[in-house]
Symmetry: C2
Subunit: 362 residues, 2 copies
């Protein structure tokens, strides 16, 4: 049996979690969905599946320190620093050339750092099934979440024929990947029973994904080869910077998944959320809600308020009157007030602050 | 010609201006409607009408220091401290017995400390006409504001026959005082042209108002006589406290105006607001609004926001997305978020905080 490696992608800037997330405090290091930072939860979730010495985190060089700090005590995973964010195809390729040096026959499990998944034991069981599928051939294995509701904020996977069952978990062929759908389309997807949420988690052999990158995105592949040749040499940093900077930003979905032939989707029946906005935080934390559906962290006084998320602290009182479905996030130097259905637009506020020179709030 | 005195009533607690107003920082000492504290504006408005040495401010003893501090440089007016707030009849009676000691034939102009009035020159001209009316007889003179819109938050005065014209300003008899009306009733009032807003400003001879208090609220009058007899004696403080404490809270409108015979209303054509809530602050400051009707003090970023008032400072950024007709008031230790039409309910938040033991925010 080949050796399994885990690659945690932690490069997000988390603009949509402003004002809690900042340039030097991205969402993956924040305890947004629970008491622990999300990247620490992701590392902990792998316990018993991949040992820490075969786990690596890929992130922007500016975020290495906050990520390591957020992990707490214990032996740290390896961290691969990107000099520039170039989306997931480059990120995964970079991790692959690092792993290949020592283990060209290895298998990679690729996971975003900012997902909430329960229960961890079931997550590991589903991963083990996928690893079996990946290790025995050339399949690119994805994980399809059985959709509990017709989300419009996620991509979908249209499954094809049933390929097999591994460890009691069904594995399907993939007909097509679908981008975030309109509401009515999402409802059709869910009703058909043939669609999964695209989890953004992948499993494949290192050699298989590198071969796909070579075929589908040859310029990226050439850069990766150049980088791979200098790892652990004196020119590593400068070559990485030179080779990475001109790369196009392209996702692994677009670069590889939508073009490759041998795709499999493993049915994942654990609870899953990619925590894309404050709205999804409100959804995730609904078990903490009071009788009116309000979730409040910190001192607050809510009068005729329902289904509202207030994130603050004990040192500042937030009082809200007569509003529903609101998000209020207060930090020492900035406060956000936003209806839940506008949570995606928080990133536009951050972009405006950038344009207007309010760097101190970024 | 008798001597004119001004009595500024500054006893309000300003719960409706929380979190900017606090127990020891009532609204009258705050620059809520403009750059200067409201009580300082009220004193300044009397310049040229009543000299500062014949101006007194009546307030709660706990508010004497912040009020004097808010007045800035220059000779201060006299301050009469009430040991307990007992509404306007007691407040005015207390001021009257103080004035009577030196000037039993004097005339009093009574003004709330928390009104916004423009222009000051026209205000003084209207006051002079009222003083003429009051000085020559037994009339209790009120001021009726020509209503620019059908407000439901003010009391109204139904005027009767035209009594006279003084300095070119019409003076009417009064048919009846009306409490805050429903919307449809307010519209009828305004349409009829026979109704004024009740400004809460009064003018009368000291002896006339004391005689009314003697006839209509004899227990209050007896307490005032007891207090008056000990002014400037060693027992003044203890007698004031003893006599004041058991008094009923009763307004001058209810105690006197609705029962007296010789009432006059002087038509006041200056711009007037009693600044009763954050909603009226938004209305008063509308000249500062941007193209979307937003008025903002301090650092803020508003995305798809209209007709909103944000009060903050330069040290904390307030970002609002996709909300209209909102009020946001941020102080270092508390933030209020409230739709304009719920502005009256801010006092309920304050009451809840009291009940829940959050004294640090009061």
């Amino acid at each position: 049996m080949a050796v399994l490696h885990a690659v945690i992608m932690a490069g997000g800037s988390g603009k949509r979690f402003w004002p809690l997330s900042r340039h030097d405090r991205p969402k993956q290091v924040l305890p947004i969905a629970g008491p622990r930072p999300m990247v620490a939860e992701t590392v902990a979730r792998l316990d018993g599946l991949v040992p820490i010495e075969r786990t690596c985190i890929v992130t922007h060089e500016a975020q290495v320190a906050p990520i390591l700090a957020s992990l707490g005590v214990g032996p740290p995973p390896r961290v691969i620093a990107e000099p520039f964010g170039r989306d997931t195809a480059a990120c995964i390729g970079l991790a692959a050339v690092h792993i290949r040096r020592h283990d060209p026959d290895g298998t990679m499990l690729v996971l975003p750092a900012d997902q909430v998944i329960h229960p961890a034991e079931r997550f590991r069981e589903v991963m083990r099934a996928a690893v079996e599928v990946a290790e025995r051939g050339d399949a690119l294995v994805t994980f399809g979440i059985k959709p509990p509701y017709p989300a419009t904020g996620y991509g979908y996977i249209h499954r094809g024929a049933r390929a097999e069952e591994v460890r009691g978990i069904p594995v399907y062929e993939v007909l097509r990947f679908r981008e975030k759908p309109a509401r009515a389309v999402a409802e059709e997807y869910v009703e058909s029973g043939e669609y999964y949420w695209n989890s953004g988690i992948f499993c494949w052999r290192v050699s298989v994904v590198l071969d796909c990158l070579r075929r589908f995105v040859p310029r990226l592949y050439a850069a990766l080869e150049r980088i791979g040749a200098t790892i652990a040499t004196p020119t590593e940093d400068i070559v990485l910077r030179e080779a990475y900077e001109p790369l196009e930003c392209i996702s692994i979905d677009y670069a590889v998944m939508e073009r490759a032939e041998a795709i499999r989707v493993v049915e994942a029946d654990f609870e899953w959320s990619d925590v894309g906005s404050w709205e999804s935080v409100a959804r995730l934390r609904r078990s903490e809600a009071d009788a009116h559906g309000n979730v409040a962290v910190g001192a607050c006084e809510l009068l005729d308020v329902a289904n509202t998320l207030v994130i603050g602290d004990e040192h500042h009182l937030v009082a809200v009157i007569g509003l529903d479905d609101l998000i209020v996030v207060r930090t020492p130097d900035a406060t956000l007030i936003c209806p839940k259905h506008r949570a995606e637009d928080v990133k536009h506020v951050v972009e405006r602050l950038q344009r207007n020179g309010f760097d101190r709030y970024l």
